[in-house]
């Protein structure tokens, strides 16, 4: 490719073709201010704050101006600065931008621009019209008075997340941001992915739980991986004094590219369950707090004495904890009686040799086979919607309501599942998203389809556990150890424990499982743990501890290692 030579602020610059002036400037460390622009979003040139002056004397927005051969621009010429000040003045005067009662003050991009260009008063009297504030949504606050109509939220909601909930209504000075058809956010088709709040430059869209709890630069930011399903989304967690304030999608993550779902973004902030904070032993119908050392001693003693010691582990714990768990049983206890809190059809697992999430985005046809990712694997649902808007066909096999049926080209009853084979015959790239717990009969049908298969495992490290040979409950045991993470234990699990005479549970929270336990040892949550998770694509990613665990509470891995130490 031919190199381009251009001049920015008098400096000769050599670049590859295909970039905008803004991108070029950024790569050379020249800071051009922007508001409607966001690195993750396609530029629209709406706010005009990024204007630069060309040699010909015109002002052009850098975000949409292509870098061309011989172009010469000034990024802070007097005319540019004057224009930017005016544009800021217009923005400040359009709605209510009094900083002192705004949640975003301190983190607001409009405010920062005001400071940068020395706006010490409003050149125009602000409008005194009151715009509505929408408090209806559980997690997201929509404050129209702060909106600068930059449309970042719309682009994030549509182009990045594929949900198309937000749009513009009316035109000109009456333009407003609108969920669906001017519905309250709560009543709209919003799926609470929160991407809008993450990209909002002002205090117009904010996450309610994190609101009014301080400025971002006073918070600790930690990159990690979400543990709420097997997608393995990259997150950026904001904490302050060991309190979790908000969670953002990590733009750099190769898995989710910054997009999250309700579970990932908001559920950890909304944690209401009661923590287990101290080891508890139940003897003769009484519960007693004991020391950690005594708990380890008691537990290992019971396991050692057992005829058939058994262990079940959570698929939400780290690979390192799983590894330790396997060693504990195979070496220290000499038992093969181990299991996982979930069970999958091994054949379905094998089907999915090399599928990855990116395949959905480039598919010609997507099949949702007896699975509805919207509530459990939100980002997968996002990707499916994006694929459909790009023109992919969507086929759904289900006997129930599916939340993505709006997007479906055709929906088949499960009894008609074999029709898929013919339907997909002419599709070049097919992605089948399936429930890995499907029956073998389903797999007979699916085998006939030339496709990439993506089983949606339930938990953050399901695949990691399966790869370590863990799948399904153990057969029979007299003394059992359950590493539960935050699982509460469903009816099936509790039933499988019927014959267990002594149950040791390592758990984050109080649950039916801990109620059934003879000995409870508290453990750190995933937010307090470092290690790795293997996501549904088989990617192994680093998890970093976001917060400190309560005093005396250890991670699964550390507890299991203490078991091993005690067993010698």
């Amino acid at each position: 490719m031919e190199k381009l030579f251009l001049k920015i602020n008098g400096n000769e610059i050599e670049v590859e073709p295909g970039l905008t002036v803004l991108q070029v400037a950024k790569s050379f460390g020249i800071d051009i201010p922007t508001l409607c622009h966001h690195d993750q979003l396609s530029p629209i040139g709406a706010c005009r704050l990024c204007v630069v002056e060309t040699k010909q004397g015109t002002l052009q927005p850098a975000c949409t101006l292509p870098a061309t051969q011989g172009l010469e621009v000034e990024t802070e010429s007097p005319r540019v600065v004057e224009a930017r000040k005016f544009i800021l003045n217009l923005l400040f005067a359009e709605r209510n931008h009094y900083c002192m009662f705004c949640e975003a003050s301190g983190d607001c991009e409009l405010q920062n621009m005001g400071y940068r260009y020395g706006i010490d008063h409003f050149a125009f009297s602000p409008y005194q019209t009151k715009f509505p504030t929408d408090f209806s949504h559980k997690y997201i606050l929509l404050e129209h008075n702060r909106c600068i109509l930059c449309r970042r939220c719309i682009r994030a909601c549509s182009d990045l997340a594929g949900h198309y909930v937000l749009g513009m209504v009316n035109r000109g000075a009456h333009t407003m941001l609108s969920p669906d058809m001017e519905s309250p956010l709560k009543a709209s088709s919003c799926v609470s992915c929160g991407a809008c709040a993450q990209v909002c430059p002002t205090g117009s869209l904010a996450d309610k739980i994190g609101a009014f709890r301080g400025k971002a630069d006073e918070m600790t930011k930690t990159k990690s991986v979400c543990a709420n399903c097997s997608v393995g989304c990259g997150i950026l967690a904001f904490t302050k004094a060991n309190h979790l304030i908000k969670i953002w999608g990590e733009w750099e993550s190769p898995v989710n590219h910054g997009i999250l779902c309700e579970l990932g973004r908001f559920s950890p902030l909304n944690e209401k369950r009661k923590r287990v904070l101290q080891p508890i032993i139940r003897q003769e119908g009484r519960r007693e707090v004991i020391s950690y050392q005594d708990a380890i001693k008691k537990a290992t003693q019971k396991l050692k004495e057992a005829k058939n010691p058994g262990g079940i582990i959570s698929p939400k714990t780290t690979n390192e904890a799983l590894e330790a768990f396997n060693i504990l049983f195979s070496t220290s206890l000499q038992s093969k009686n181990t299991g996982l809190m979930e069970s999958y059809n091994e054949k379905a697992v094998k089907l999915s040799a090399d599928g990855c999430l990116e395949d959905i985005l480039i598919a010609n046809a997507v099949v949702l086979y007896k699975v509805d990712p919207s509530t459990s694997h939100g980002v997968v649902a996002s990707w499916v919607k994006k694929a459909v808007t790009k023109g992919a066909y969507l086929y759904i096999v289900t006997d129930e309501e599916n939340s993505l049926s709006f997007y479906a080209t055709e929906t088949f009853k499960t009894s008609e599942a074999d029709k898929l084979v013919n339907t997909l015959e002419n599709s070049k790239k097919v992605v089948v998203i399936l429930n890995p717990q499907v029956e073998s009969a389903d797999l007979e049908i699916l085998k006939k389809v030339k496709a990439v298969f993506l089983p949606l495992y339930k938990s953050a490290n399901s695949l990691g556990a399966i790869k370590k040979g863990l799948n399904g409950f153990f057969e029979k045991s007299d003394v059992a150890l359950i590493v539960a993470s935050d699982f509460s234990g469903d009816g099936n699990l509790l039933a499988s424990l019927q014959d267990v005479s002594y149950l040791i549970v390592i758990s984050n929270f109080v649950s039916p499982l801990t109620e059934r336990a003879n000995l409870i040892i508290p453990s750190a949550t995933w937010l307090e743990t470092s290690g790795t998770f293997t996501n549904l694509e088989g990617k192994t990613q680093d998890v970093s501890s976001i917060m400190e665990a309560p005093e005396g509470v250890k991670t699964d891995k550390a507890i299991i290692e203490d078991f091993m130490k005690a067993l010698g």
Binding site: Y98, C99, M100, S105, G106, H121, F122, S125
Partner: protein, 181 residues
């Protein structure tokens, strides 16, 4: 050296900006030694600027009543340089929240409906200012020469601005000296 006379007043606001002025601490003394004379201010408790006028007028607070309007105009007439200090004077500030409601709604809520009110009555005395339909920033009523925003503005900002003016320079507030909240 001739004295540089300063008068300040406090309109619709919380007085926080004058607190910030006092927060200059011993630098007030420094200013006075450099020739500044504070004439009428809410702090000195003199109500009216001297007849012959002052060099610098400082207004804290927005224009909410006809009395505020009168007072702002009066000070403007009596001073050479007028400074609006604090968000209320500069932008309209928090007191403009009432602009979303009618005068009647505001008065009813304020004097009759507050939870602690018993047998309330909307005051009607002529000596009280009449609420204007909308609260305005000072610049919407009279010409303002310099602005020091902030809620309240940092004492450093006020000090820097006065110091610059005394030195015959045009104050430019930058960095930490320019803030809106």
């Amino acid at each position: 050296m001739a004295k540089v006379k300063i008068a300040s007043t406090w309109l619709e606001a919380c007085s926080g900006c004058h607190m910030s002025l006092l927060d200059m601490d011993e630098r007030i003394v420094e200013l006075i030694q450099a020739g500044v004379e504070f004439t009428s201010t809410p702090i000195t408790d003199l109500k009216h600027p001297p007849e012959e006028g002052v060099d610098i007028g400082i207004i804290e607070g927005a224009i909410g009543t006809d009395l505020h309007e009168e007072e702002a105009k009066h000070l403007r007439k009596k001073c050479k340089i007028l400074i609006a200090i604090g968000d209320c004077a500069v932008f309209g500030g928090i007191v403009t929240m009432r602009n979303y409601f009618s005068r009647e709604e505001v008065l009813t809520r304020g004097y009759l409906e507050t939870e602690s009110t018993k047998d309330g009555k909307i005051p009607t005395s002529d000596e009280l200012g009449k609420l204007l339909p909308k609260v305005k920033a000072v610049k919407d009523i009279v010409k303002v020469d310099f602005y020091i925003p902030g809620c309240p503005p940092p004492a450093d900002s006020i000090y820097t601005a006065l110091k610059e003016l005394l030195g015959g320079r045009v104050p430019v507030l930058k960095g930490d000296l320019l803030k809106y909240d």
